[in-house]
Amino acid sequence: MTSVSGPLLKVNNLQVDFGSGDTVTHAVNDISFQIRDGETVAIVGESGSGKSVTALSLTRLLPTPPAHYVGGEILFNGRNTLALSENDLRKVRGKQIAYIFQEPGTSLNPVFTIEYQIAEAIQLHRPDVTDVRAEAIRALDLVGIRNPAQRLGDYPHQLSGGMQQRVMIAMALACQPKLLVADEPTTALDVTIQKQIMDLLRDIKVKTGMSIMLITHNFGIIADIADRVVVMFRGKIVEDGPTGEVLRHPKHPYTRALIDCVPKLGAKQRRLRAIDHAEIEASA
């Protein structure tokens, strides 16, 4: 329905600064990219490259100060979220764009039950839902939690890390958003759990057809899921292209370095190469 008028998300020349005066840093410096309906885009870069800032900027979640939205626009469904009022913005958050974060353990409020936290989102954005509890159960079911009705009364600390992240995903899905922003969803988890969560995300992508913006520093996990890759380095986009293309023929030395960091199964054990920034900058 919306795809006719253009991409779901279009970021144009976004610039975000931190601090002010002498100590200002350009966390995101004049970047542009887009995400189409149903598309999964991975934003890759090491920590500090500006990828999380980009993600949080979509709904202006960064606290201002210290952050400043200096320039550019973020068109979501054709509306510039940077220009929306707090009130309108709230209707976008959760409802249109939902987030999952890196640390499920600290991203869930420790003093509320799972039920409360899922129900809160549903009540906010889907006032027509009468049986909130049933809806919450359905959401948990969707993310593959067994006996969802029994889990509802649990507190976050009673769940394992993987389960917590599933709850986060359930919470995000409960309002049926158009875009799911997953900010390093597996980084804090065990390797085996990482796989499960990525499988789950792919599963959901297939089931719901929603767009996903996957933020990660790890090229290893994106190959199977992302349609497109955007590589960020020092607040700028250095590469943007279809996943297969980028993985096979990385143009930018930074992308190459990142890909080299991924240990290949079966490959002979070799020392991980540390990324040498000076070298990259020189060759860029």
Binding site: L56, L61, V92, R93, A98, E120, H157
Partner: protein, 322 residues
């Protein structure tokens, strides 16, 4: 939970034994005894002092005195005040309501001021309001309590709207019940403020710090990303977490309910336990001192226990089941 509480309560026994022994010995080795005031009067014959010494058992070695004190106390008898000649329990019970009332009102006062101020200061961090409240908190924490009490007395005497001290007016007995209640409240206002203001400042700072701490936490970001309105975030998600340490502090507040505020009670002539107990220490009215210490220690230990229980209650992550 039950076994945990039981175990903690059982641990109280050796603790109280240790406390009582320590204080008893300290009182014993400090020079002089209850009869000092008598000895300094010129018309008291030496035989009378000796007789009193025997009567009070002060001529016996300290361990004999301690054992006999312990034996009595274990049976629930706190002994008799030497200066008042009435059972210690009765003496303390006379003053306890006044102290309890003041402790409670100042606690409520401190909370009623500290929590909203702390929340607002954190929400409007670095605003004028935040800076002003921080400044007032620093000021409140930096005035010696007794000096504040003295200022209150002077203020009361100059302005005339508040009584200069005491617990009730002289015509209290001739007032209607409502009038009597108001009379008590009227007398409580200034001591409550003086006593509560320091606590309020401390609590406020803790509240603000906690709020800021929680505001920066990731689950607040989660809530915000869910589209939860800002005021709901602050008053449900943040406050609910930030207030936990304060709720726990209620347990410690419990410990102080009966200890009384010696300085404020003295300056403001508030007839509470603090005054009585301090006087007992000064006069070396031993059984009153010992009872006060035992009660104070028990309250402290139980207060700590309550704090721990409250912590488990407000924070689902904490359980003592093991």
């Amino acid at each position: 939970m039950k076994t945990y509480i039981l175990r903690r309560l059982l641990l109280m026994i050796p603790m109280l034994l240790g406390v009582s022994l320590l204080v008893f010995v300290l009182v014993y080795i400090s020079p002089g005894n209850y009869l000092d005031a008598l000895k300094a009067q010129r018309d008291i014959p030496a035989e009378f002092i000796a007789k009193k010494e025997r009567e009070l058992g002060l001529d016996r070695p300290w361990y004999v005195q301690y054992v006999s004190w312990l034996g009595r106390t274990v049976r629930g008898d706190f002994g008799e005040s030497w200066s008042y000649r009435i059972p210690v329990a009765e003496l303390l019970a006379q003053r306890a309501p006044a102290t309890l009332a003041l402790s409670l009102t100042s606690l409520v006062f401190a909370w009623a001021i500290a929590v909203p101020l702390g929340v607002f200061a954190a929400v409007y961090r670095n605003s004028i309001f935040d800076k002003l409240s921080a400044l007032s908190a620093y000021a409140a924490l930096s005035i010696p309590e007794f000096f504040l009490a003295l200022l209150a007395v002077i203020f009361a005497s100059q302005w005339g709207v508040f009584p200069t001290g005491g617990l009730s007016s002289i015509d209290h007995d001739y007032l209607s019940p409502v009038g009597q209640l108001w009379d008590y409240v009227h007398h409580l206002i200034l001591p409550t403020i003086v006593l509560g203001i320091g606590g309020a400042a401390g609590l406020m700072r803790v509240m603000r710090t906690n709020m800021l701490d929680v505001i920066q936490s990731e689950y607040v970001m989660t809530a915000r990303a869910k589209g939860v309105p800002e005021n709901v975030i602050m008053f449900r998600h943040v406050l609910r977490n930030a207030i936990n340490p304060l709720v726990t502090s209620l347990g410690f507040a419990f410990s102080g309910l009966l200890s009384g505020a010696v300085l404020v009670e003295n300056v403001m002539n508030y007839p509470g336990l603090g005054q009585l107990i301090f006087q007992a220490f000064m006069r070396k009215d031993r059984d009153v001192v010992m009872a006060a210490v035992i009660i104070g220690s028990s309250m402290l230990i139980i207060g700590n226990l309550i704090a721990d229980i409250l912590l488990a209650w407000v924070d689902p992550r904490i359980r003592y089941d093991k």
